[in-house]
């Protein structure tokens, strides 16, 4: 295992935060989620290792294959498990003080299980009472949460009779019922139909806009990309990259030049002219002969060149689109598994 770890360490790129260090320092630490040199071992099995992470408000997505350590990170953040080493602070509070922490943290975990014999309403209401809310207040909070996930009609039905999507929604409602400032969601879109997915994503965006922290793990990369302000790529217990999709993509530009598809007339002539530029690594004609793929290590310089070419040589450019400036490509380059919609 040690050799595996050292091998992985050598692969670990320099991390880049979406915020400049000075900006991160300027944010009050009581508004950040901070992991300092956190490791978790399950006996001899590595959960996560040497995690240094600072999460600012907004939507942060944890991305990685199964068993990469996403859930371990979430469980550490919420005190369900204790770190073997290191320190975690969630908005300045340590996770082993649940009474303080869960006043402003909500966690919707992966377990599709519920206390026996409860209706959706009872499930949320009972745990609000357990948190110490007075009955009237708990009642109002329960209905507000149920309305948010659109389960009013099914509220008094037993959870055992719910569909998978309904169970997912009621768990989401339970995790947000106490109006937390930090919401941690492990695969929150699993089992939801397309309409419920859209509604839920809209809800997440709204919550993020309100200044909340949302930490989401999912396997559906394109959905994460749509929603996320920051992505954290994790594999084999190590954080591989952290930042906005574009900034992480830029990090890998030297190793994996960016591929841009250009639809234009006279693609062969276009290719021959641009190939002289230093910014272009490779140019390849499209199969249909109506365009070409260009690989560049400096996208900005290439776009300048493209403008000049069009102006000076009169090319008719119909479309310009980066092919691999997305989370799927970043995932593929950093983690190595095949792309597709799912990781």
């Amino acid at each position: 295992m040690e050799s595996q770890i050292s091998n992985l360490e050598s692969q670990t790129p320099v991390l880049k935060s979406p915020f400049a260090p000075s900006v991160m320092e300027a944010i009050d630490p009581s508004h950040l989620i901070v992991f300092r040199d956190v490791s978790k071992f399950y006996g001899e099995i590595l959960g996560v290792n040497r995690v240094n992470l600072t999460i600012a408000p907004g939507i942060t997505s944890l991305v990685g294959p199964n068993g990469s350590g996403k859930t371990t990170l979430m469980n550490l953040m919420t005190g369900l498990i204790q770190p073997t080493r290191g320190e975690i602070r969630v908005l300045g509070v340590v996770p082993d003080d649940p009474q303080s922490m869960f006043r402003f943290v909500g966690y919707c975990g992966q377990f599709d299980s519920f206390p026996r014999g409860m209706s959706g309403y009872e499930f949320i209401y009972s745990f609000l009472l357990v948190q110490g809310h007075p009955k009237k207040e708990a009642e109002a909070m329960t209905w507000r949460a149920i309305e948010r996930v659109d389960l009013v009609e099914a509220a008094h039905r037993k959870v055992a009779g719910y569909s998978k999507g309904m169970r997912q929604r009621i768990r989401l409602a339970q995790s947000i019922a106490h109006d937390p400032a930090v919401i941690i969601l492990d695969e929150p879109l699993n089992g939801l139909d397309p309409m419920a997915r859209d509604e839920t994503k809209r809800l997440f965006r709204q919550l993020a806009k309100d200044g909340l922290h949302l930490i989401i793990s999912s396997h559906i990369l394109h959905e994460l990309e749509e929603m996320s302000d920051t992505i954290v790529l994790i594999n084999n217990g190590y954080i591989l990259a952290e930042g906005g999709v574009s900034s992480v993509r830029e990090e890998k530009m030297e190793e994996h030049p960016m591929q841009i598809m250009i639809r234009c007339d006279r693609p062969a002539e276009f290719a021959s002219r641009i190939f002289a530029s230093d910014s272009v690594v490779e140019a390849q004609l499209h199969e249909d002969k109506h365009g070409l793929f260009v690989k560049t290590r400096n996208a900005d310089a290439f776009y300048m060149l493209l403008n000049r070419m069009v102006a000076e040589n009169g090319f008719n450019v119909e479309a310009v689109a980066p092919v691999d400036d997305n989370l799927n490509a970043v995932y593929h380059y950093l983690i190595g598994s095949g792309g597709g919609g799912q990781a």
């Binding site: 009050d28 009581s30 508004h31 399950y42 408000p57 469980n75 919420t78 005190g79 369900l80 498990i81 204790q82 908005l91 300045g92 509070v93 082993d96 649940p98 009474q99 303080s100 922490m101 869960f102 006043r103 402003f104 909500g106 966690y107 975990g109 377990f111 299980s113 519920f114 206390p115 026996r116 014999g117 009972s126 745990f127 009472l129 357990v130 948190q131 110490g132 007075p134 339970q174 995790s175 106490h178 109006d179 400032a181 200044g211 909340l212």
Partner: protein
Amino acid sequence: MSSLVEAAAKPATTELQWGLWWRQVRAILRMEVKKNFWGKRALLIYVFASIPVLLMFLLTFADPDSAADITKNWAAAQEVFANIFEALILRTMVFFGCAWIFMNLFRGEVVDKSLHYYFLSSLRREVLVAGKYFSGLVTSVILFSLTTGGSLFFLYLARDYPANVNFLFDGPGLKQCLVYLGVTILGCIGYGAVFMFIGLFFRNPIIPALLVYGWEWLNFLLPPVLKKISIVHYLHTLAPVPMNEGPLATVVEATSPWLAVPSLLIFTAIVLALAAVKIRKYEISYGTE
């Protein structure tokens, strides 16, 4: 948001904290007692708790001879009841009933994968231990007090009227009944703490529960010092008509109720404190259960 977090981090006054904890214990009680009484698992415990009552009923009514014996020889009948109470009700029904109820408080939730909802609530884990323990206690005390009370009811019903009523209200009957109920409740208090602790510490609590069972049953053979490290010893001492433990039993000076009751309560408090310490570092890992 910051005000919310600041409010969360701000230490509340002790008085407010106690008020909050009391509300939380009540909320846990409400949820758990309902689960204990109405869940599918409750059915087994109902059947279990009704066995001694059924036995007493059969003994007194299905067999007219034994009913006549009870009427004729009340002292002997009381001794028979003392044996039934200690051997069947206390050492079997209360013991295994408490094992089932209290071990399931945490272990059952781990099996159902629902314990994390408590752990993800704004709730001190020590308060969770207290809430769960009291919910188990309420359940077991109600159930097994009914078992003891029901058994006594049939014992008294078998004796002819008005001798039974006279013995109950003008003789030592009422006091005896109350002591039997008290011993049942103390059994629930002591065994409850032990089994909740076992349920928290062991992934498979059956083996330690059986070891405790063996220790409690063999208690009469143990030397005096070891004898005192058991719950049944104190309960036996407190019983109004102690069961005859047989010729092999080690003779020990009876512990006074003034020592036996506080000893049991102190023992329970220690076990609960250990459970509270344990739960602070308890990690949820359903996958490995």
